[in-house]
Amino acid sequence: MRRISKVFPSFILFATLACWVLPHGAYGESSNHDTWKNFSAAQKRYALFGFIDCHRLLFPHANASMYNADERVYGEVDKLAADNGDTPIGRLILDAMRKTPAAAPDNHAEHGGVDDGMLWRGLIEREKEAYVQGVFWCAEVAPAMTVSLSEKSAGAAVKALDDWYVVADDDWKDPRSNARVDVPVAVAMQRTGILSIRPAKKP
């Protein structure tokens, strides 16, 4: 985290351990390597997406080029996890992203977009839980922030987000559906009170 601390020198004065309200169950254990290992490739993808979205929110001035999420990154996390059993998964994800060179430009792909309400409507339950878990893992390794999570589990957070995005409104008749669809998921987590971020208090 040295690099991030340089970007935010003012926070160093207030640095303290993140206040972390641990959710219960398999998803919430802070260094739960088993959760990562048991994720499918799609779950690992969306865990990384959640991690990255949360990290951008916490560190908006961080160099965006550090964010990579593809199969090579998942593989690097797997390797690091095997050798660093006590290290929080969030820290391993950061290390893996830094170690993995960015993929070559793909001129035939679409570039851009954000993880917003359309992503949320498209994901299945276990992918949503993985996304939320990625946010949890990110919050866990934020050194100069107080991050609290009101929900007791990833599943509860998923339910709250489903309600907020009005996912049940499959015909897009509720005005909230269209009004909220472009809101990034990480921001929705703040608006729903699932994720609360503020600079840590002086020790």
Binding site: I52, N68, A69
Partner: protein
């Protein structure tokens, strides 16, 4: 759709998705001539917005159909696309026949699509497109 090369990724902080590549390769797999509509003469796919503009041009041998017509055509094995021209890169997805064993479409309303994008999987229109982002137009080839 299940091709791992088409999985969404993040590269240098930017989201990378593959709907136009998938549309091109699905069309090619069905025997359709993609040149000038979905791809250049060398088979390299155009971006989604260009593909959608080409599908909308009657000179290219495609025409707009209703969602129900698109689903009916797909059920008969005819290639059809759902599209949304976007301020960003737009989005395109092929319509998938109903009732394929093992399919558990995401969402509940609208035709069934083989979506490649921010997520890859079988989904109803409602899980892929929002009316808030513009008109959702279906295209099928002229018979």
């Amino acid at each position: 759709m299940s091709n791992s090369q088409y999985a969404p990724t993040v590269t240098k902080g930017g989201l990378v998705t593959h709907c136009s590549e998938a549309a091109c390769s699905i069309a090619a797999a069905t025997g359709a001539n993609t040149a000038g509509v979905l791809s250049d003469a060398n088979g390299h796919n155009y971006d989604a917005n260009t593909q959608i503009n080409n599908l909308a041009n009657p000179k290219n041998g495609w025409h707009a159909v209703t969602p129900d017509q698109a689903q009916a055509l797909a059920n008969q094995g005819v290639l059809a696309f759902a599209t949304q021209h976007g301020a960003g890169h737009g989005h395109i997805a092929s319509v998938r026949p109903e009732g394929i064993p093992g399919d558990q479409p995401r969402g509940r309303s609208g035709p069934i699509l083989a979506n490649v994008g921010i997520f890859n999987g079988v989904a109803h229109q409602s899980a892929v497109f929002t009316p808030a982002h513009g008109a959702i137009i279906y295209y099928a080839p002229n018979q």
